[in-house]
Symmetry: C2
Subunit: 111 residues, 2 copies
């Protein structure tokens, strides 16, 4: 099984075959994190209901929360007007950030 060809045709991937994916908490609207997906990660996200990314550092599929327990249950998935960004609305269990912060942006205010 693989990604619906109609969806695959709409995706604009970068040179590495990846598309950025924004994860947003579905009810509070918090932007939790940004990560990357290849076709397989998007297919698994759509079919399993668990947010799944491509880890650029580990070079492998990464089911968010598989090691930390901080899983993301997917509520909806949308592609932007250009097909080059994905927006996931999720229910985040625990912290989204590996630092233990709720979101990856909590500690990084620039003003």
């Amino acid at each position: 099984m693989s990604l619906d060809p109609e969806i695959a045709a709409r995706l604009k991937r970068n040179a590495d075959g990846l598309v950025p994916a924004i994860a947003q908490q579905h009810d509070t609207g918090e932007v939790l994190m940004m990560a990357w997906m290849n076709d397989e990660a998007l297919y698994r996200t759509l079919t399993t209901g668990r947010a799944t990314y491509w880890s650029r550092s580990r070079d492998e599929l990464w089911v968010k929360g598989d090691t930390s327990g901080n899983v993301q249950h997917v509520k909806s998935v949308a592609l932007d007007c250009d097909g080059d960004t994905i927006l996931l609305k999720v229910d985040q269990v625990g912290a989204a950030c590996h630092t233990g912060d709720r979101t990856c942006f909590d500690a990084g205010s620039l003003g």
Copy 2:
């Protein structure tokens, strides 16, 4: 004048010198769009209060709304834990999307 060296040192740019920037409506939490910034775009965003991106299609700085009128007034700017994504909270005038939709994700539901 240019970007604060301390901020510049925290940025992880891609091979083109760019960092993805997510624009979010500050009060409703809507994710409006994703675009790209170089150091100069981030510097101008921080100092002018108008969201400014690097247009990859036009290969030039792009002050959001300069042609459409649909400007983004910047409320806050944050860098993520890895320094490779920027989150802007903005007050969006009119539509964020070039299609006339409020956000670039309105028409792209995948489920």
